[in-house]
Structure formats: C-alpha cells, structure tokens
C-alpha cells in the first residue's frame, strides 16, 4: 500500500490496481460477519421451535427457555460461570501483571522467560486439561508426590471435592492464559513514557510508588482489554472442563458451554440446546454492552476536551 503514491487523477486503472486489496480484505470480512450473523439468527430461531434430533418447523414460544432455566444442570452451570469467571479473570490478570512487572525490571534472560511464560498459550486446552487432570489427581499427582516425600497427611484433592473442583479449572486456566495477559501488560508497561518515570524519579518517588502512582494508572485501558478478552474466554470455556473434570464430580463443574453441547448433541434436544446457547450469548452481551458503552463515553469525553 505504501508503495503506491496517491495519484491526483482517479483513473479506472488505479481502481483496478486496488481490486486485490478489496478482495483480500472485504470478502473474508463479509463472509465471516455473514457467518456469525446468519448462524446466530438461525440458532435463535431454532430456540423457539420444537426441534429435537434435527431442526424442525413450528413455534413453541419460550418453552425451551423455561425448560433449560429449570434444570439443575443449568443452575449449577451458571453459578459455576460466576465463580469461574470472576476467579479466572481476576487471578489471571493479577498473575499476568505480576509476571509483567517482574520481567519489566530488565532482568537477564528476559526473552527466554517471556517465551516460557507465553508457551502454555500455544498448547490446546484439551492438552492442558488432560495434563492437569493427572497432576491434580490425588492418587497419582501432586498429593501422591508430596505424600511419598514423607508428608503423609498432605491433602490436595480438589479434583474430587465437588465444592472445590471448579477451582482446579481456574488453576489450569490461569496456567494457560496468564502468559497472554503478561504479554499485553508488558507491552503496556514498556509504552509508558520515559519522561513521566524520570520526572517521578526526580521528585524522589521510590520504585513502588512509581508503579502504583505513575505506571499502573496509565495501564487502565490495557487492564480493561485484558479483562474483556479473558472474560469471553471464560464464558465459552468448554474443552478445558471436558478434559479436566468431565463436568464432574457428578455434575459439579458444569459450565454453560457444556450444557449447550449436552442438550444439542447428547440429549438430542436442538431446541433446548439453542435456547441455552442464546442465554450464553445474552450473558456475553451483558459484559460487552457495558464495555462498549464505556468506550463510547470515553471517546465522547475525549472529543469534548
């Protein structure tokens, strides 16, 4: 793009030259947007039909929704989503921030460490889930190792404890995603203007004060971005739970995405599954709309100033 100088006279040839750009950008964009919109509308439509094994015609009103909302599975899944969503997003962001601050100290081997911390991101959630299901299994993982060192009374059996099992998913999720949060935070920390820091140093602020009063406040936009990205990770989490706990013990670690899959493909209720999927979408909108509104408000304020 930068190679072609803007020509003052718009010749048809110039338009033709730019055709590949249009094709490359707009066609995939429209196709993917079309896919998202078409399938969202279709799923919403199916959620109002009596579809079971295959999509069917008809109108049942909100029956699928009331049915899904009344199941224990959905209630447990939604409670878990709140616990897991908050735990995963906040703790991942905190761990990521801590790693970023440590790496920001211009330490030796930063590149190597950064790669190591980022590496879990390259592993699929299924692999993460499977490996952690071994590590966290009291019969063969961490507990057994510590017990074999002589600390016989050591207990770490969250995986089979129905009240704590959801936190094993948080642990595995943090392991996987904190590197990603770290990378974004590190970029943010590095982009803080050196003049600001120098000014603070001249004013006699110590390193802790510089972080809490100067650097972190400028990091807000990145914090929000990280939170929103992590939150949509949390809401659509599926494979991690499937591999780690299988939704168990019992149905203690159900999450909405598992309930959707379960209704659609295991129970043969496309209608109820779609209703659950729409409820998930609404949850996501509940997060994204306030974020959008906040962005809009910020932009308005910036424009007014």
């Amino acid at each position: 793009m930068s190679l072609t100088a803007p020509s003052p006279a718009r010749s048809p040839l110039a338009g033709l030259k730019r055709l590949p750009e249009f094709l490359v950008i707009w066609v995939p964009l429209l196709l993917s947007a079309g896919h998202v919109v078409v399938f969202t509308v279709w799923t919403t439509w199916i959620s109002f039909t009596p579809s079971t094994l295959v999509p069917a015609e008809g109108w049942v009103g909100l029956r699928n929704y009331t049915n899904v909302l009344a199941t224990r599975n959905w209630k447990i899944a939604f409670d878990n989503l709140l616990l897991f969503g908050c735990g995963f997003v906040i703790l991942t962001a905190l761990v990521g921030l801590a790693l970023a601050i440590i790496l920001d100290q211009r330490i030796r081997g930063e590149n190597v460490l950064r790669s190591i911390f980022l590496y879990p991101m390259a592993v699929s959630f299924v692999v993460t889930g499977t490996v952690w299901s071994w590590l966290l299994n009291p019969g063969m993982g961490i507990q057994k190792l510590v017990n074999s060192w002589g600390w016989e009374s050591f207990r770490f059996d969250w995986l089979i404890d129905r009240d704590m099992a959801i936190w094993t998913i948080v642990i595995a999720g943090i392991w996987q995603s904190s590197g990603f949060a770290m990378a974004l935070f590190l970029a943010g920390l590095r982009s803080v203007e050196a003049d600001l820091i120098k000014a603070a140093q001249i004013d006699g602020a110590g390193p802790v004060r510089i972080y809490t009063r100067v650097i972190l406040p400028t990091l807000w936009p990145i914090v929000i971005a990280v939170m929103v990205i992590l939150l949509q990770f949390a809401i659509k989490t599926f494979d991690l739970v499937r591999a780690l706990t299988g939704g168990g013990p019992g149905i203690a670690t159900q999450l909405p995405a598992l309930v959707v899959y379960d209704f659609m493909f295991q129970r043969g209720h496309l209608g109820r599954g779609s209703a659950a999927a729409v409820l998930m979408l609404l949850t996501l909108l509940g997060v994204l709309l306030p974020y959008g509104a906040w962005k809009y408000y910020q932009r308005r304020r910036a424009a007014n100033v």
């Binding site: 009344a70 299988g246 013990p249 493909f265 043969g268």
Partner: protein
C-alpha cells in the same frame, strides 16, 4: 444432493463397465457405506473381521469409524442425514432407533428377516426395539449384560472366599471380608456417567426386576417413588463407599491393573470388560465372571445390544450391499465370530456356546439370559441408553452420578430428585 447421487450412480456404472465379467453376470457388485464408533481395540478388530467377511462374499466394504462416544458417531450421522446422503448402514441402538427412524426413511427388512426365520431366535423385548412401527429396520448384532460381576482372583484369596455372591446381602458381606482382608477398595470402578448409572441399575434390578421395569423402563410415577428405589440408592451408597474416590472422571479400564492385582475386588461391568481385559494381556484365570447380584437368586439380565440400522438409498449397489449385510449380521457363524472377539454373546438364542472359542463367562452370560427371559427378568439397560431415549437417560443419570459423588445426599432426597428429573425431561 442430486449431484452426489448422480456421481454415485456414475461411479456404479463405471464399476460395472470396468468389470464386465463379474459385474454384469450378477448385476452390480454389492457395496456398503457404514459408520460406527468402533475404531480400535476388540471392537475395531471385530468390525474389521466383519468387513473381511463382507468382502469374501463379493462386496465392497466402506466403513468410516468415528472414534469416541456414540454421540460423536451420531453427530456425523445427523450431518449426513441432513445433507441427504445417509450411510447405507450405521450403528444405532435402543429407543434411538425409533427416534431416528422418524427423521429419515429406513429400509424395510421384513422379507429378509422372515426368510432367515430370525424373529423366533431373538428375545422379544429386543426384537420390539428393532422394529419401530412394526417393521424391522434395524438388526441387533451382539448382546451384553451391563450387570455382570467380575471378581478378582487375588482379592478373593485375600478375603479367603471362593464363592461368588448371589444376593446383595452376600455381595455386601463379601465386600466387608475383602476390606478386612486387605483389599484397598472392594469395588473396582471408573468415574464416568455410564459407570455410575450401571451401579444404580444393577442395584435396582437386583433388588426387584419388576420395580426396575416399572420405574426405569415405563417411568411409572408410583414406582419411581417406591420403597425399592430408596433401597437401591441405599445399596449404591454402600457401593460408592467401597470405591476408590480418586478415580475422578477416569474410564473403568484405567484401573484394571489394580483390579487384577487384588488392590480392587469386584467390578460391576458389562461383558465387554472381558474383551478389554484379554486385550490388555490378562488371563481368564485372573478373574471370574458371574451374573450380578439378584435378591430372588434367579439371574437378572440388563440388556445392552449393539445394532445396525439401514437407511434408504436409491443406488442398486448399495441396496445389494444392505441385503448382504443384513444376511451376514443374522448369520450364526458371523455372530459367533463377532462375539468371540468382543466378549459379548450372540443375539441368536440358538447358538451353541460349548465350543472352545467361548469363555466360561460368556457361557454363564448366555445361560443367564435364557433363565432371565424365562423368569421375565431380562430388562433393558438405562445407563447404556436401552431403556429410554438419550434426553431422559441423561436427566436420570445426572441425579445418579451426583448421588454417587456426594455423600450428603440421602437416598430419600435422591428418590425425589430422580422423580423430579423424570418429570422435567418428559
């Protein structure tokens, strides 16, 4: 859709032209497109052997296995049906046969079944499942009982016991003996949903086959709240207390090593565990197989049968393939070959199991089926999707699996939760 079938017809024509001798003489060469979940282990070996037989009879065998749970195979089946291109034949079982045959046309097999005189040699409850609307559209292939009791020889030695338990009271006494004899976990188990479901169905059907039939097969409201249900949950609690809690969501096969070593004592599992045990290199004298506990001392048989359903196709070669496949599946020699690989028993009740290829466990299973049918105690398995459609099964298993994993739920609470779940899923 029309494009695909035209291409298929052209391919068929091309094959007929290319093989003028063989093709023209007997019409088209029979061809079968089939999908199933059987890809590995003894299941994979068995269906591969079936395919070899199909080819020996001059057919073209096109099997595409979809590894994983049955539901994954169903997803492929659903996609193919919606695209108007169903396989000529697919694995499907239980009430799902009736449910799925409502969404796509199936082949009427009545003439082929009648010609083989097959109906006389199939258990009536089983035959009913495979003829939705009164016509045969699916054929059962092999039978398992989901409540066989596998006893570890080494655990029996530790308990100084040599008699297999007959009733639940015997079972509980043996488990206590094993526990005090040094068996860490008297019950060998996995932690999957069907695994938990099997414990419950074995308990209820063993306590009262009539109550099982009324509650789990007919969903009778009164039976669902009956005293037998509470007794069954109480028995499941005992079983759960003897299991290794650390198994989490593991498959039962993960712990077979410990079972054989006598670290775990008794395994309540379908006959397929025999195939898995032998495939893992263990010997038949390492364990014993007997029918699951039954309080009226006559064996209770929880039926689980794998079957093939045949989907309508217009292509002549596929239709010929379906006919050949149907004939093979009903053939006693083929059923013998298949069951000897997987550890199941044949669907035909007239197959002789005294030959050397059969294990003592399989002979006991077949004898149990005969006795159970005579005593009207052969019932359909809930945990393996034979008694109810998947939606109802899943709703009921939810309650059972939660009960197994949560000591705080009392049998009374479980009974009312189960009744509620059934109401909600109706």
């Amino acid at each position: 859709m029309s494009k695909i079938s035209r291409r298929a017809i052209m391919a068929g024509t091309a094959a007929a032209v290319a093989l003028p001798g063989a093709g023209r003489a007997q019409g088209t060469k029979p061809r079968l497109t089939a999908i199933s979940q059987w890809s590995a282990g003894s299941d994979g070996a068995a269906i591969t052997a079936l395919g070899k037989k199909f080819e020996e009879h001059g057919g073209v065998w096109q099997h595409s296995p979809v590894p994983g749970f049955t539901t994954e195979m169903m997803n492929k089946l659903r996609a193919q049906i919606m695209a108007g291109d169903p396989p000529a034949c697919s694995q499907l079982k239980g009430p799902e046969i009736a449910a799925w045959s409502k969404i796509a046309p199936t082949v009427n097999l009545d003439a082929i079944v009648a010609a083989a005189g097959y109906e006389k040699v199939v258990a009536p409850d089983l035959a009913r499942l495979h003829k939705p609307g009164g016509t045969w559209s699916a054929l059962p292939l092999q039978i398992y009982s989901t409540n066989m009791l596998f006893l570890s020889k080494r655990a029996m030695d530790k308990a100084k016991a040599d008699k297999a338990p007959v009733t639940w009271a015997d079972f509980n006494a043996l488990a206590e003996k094993m526990k005090s004899g040094g068996v860490a976990h008297p019950i060998a188990n996995g932690g999957t949903r069907p695994d938990d479901g099997q414990k419950f169905e074995a308990a209820l059907a063993g306590i009262s086959p009539a109550a099982y039939r009324a509650a789990c097969m007919n969903l009778d409201e009164k039976a669902l709240k009956g005293p037998e249900m509470k007794a069954a949950f109480a028995q499941v609690r005992k079983i759960a207390d003897w299991m290794d809690p650390n198994t989490a969501a593991q498959h039962f096969s993960t712990n077979l090593q410990r079972f054989i070593a006598g670290d775990m004592g008794m395994l309540i599992m379908g006959g397929w565990a025999q195939g898995v045990l032998l495939n893992a290199g263990f010997k038949l004298d390492d364990f014993m197989i007997v029918p699951g506990p039954s309080d009226n001392t006559k064996p209770v048989f929880l039926l689980n049968a794998d079957a093939f359903i045949f989907w309508q196709r217009k292509e002549a070669d596929l239709q010929a393939g379906q006919k050949l496949m149907a004939e093979l599946v009903m053939d006693p020699a083929i059923q013998t070959m298949y069951s000897q690989i997987t550890g199941s028993i044949p669907v035909r009740t007239d197959v002789d199991l005294s030959g050397p290829g059969w294990s003592e466990g399989q002979r006991r299973t077949a004898a149990a089926l005969k006795e159970a049918v005579a005593a009207n105690q052969a019932v359909l398995s809930l945990a393996h999707n034979m008694a109810q459609e998947n939606g109802m099964t899943a709703a009921m298993i939810d309650v059972i699996t939660e009960f197994v994993k949560n000591r705080a739920i009392t049998p009374d609470q479980a009974v009312s939760r189960l009744a509620e779940a059934v109401e909600g899923a109706r």
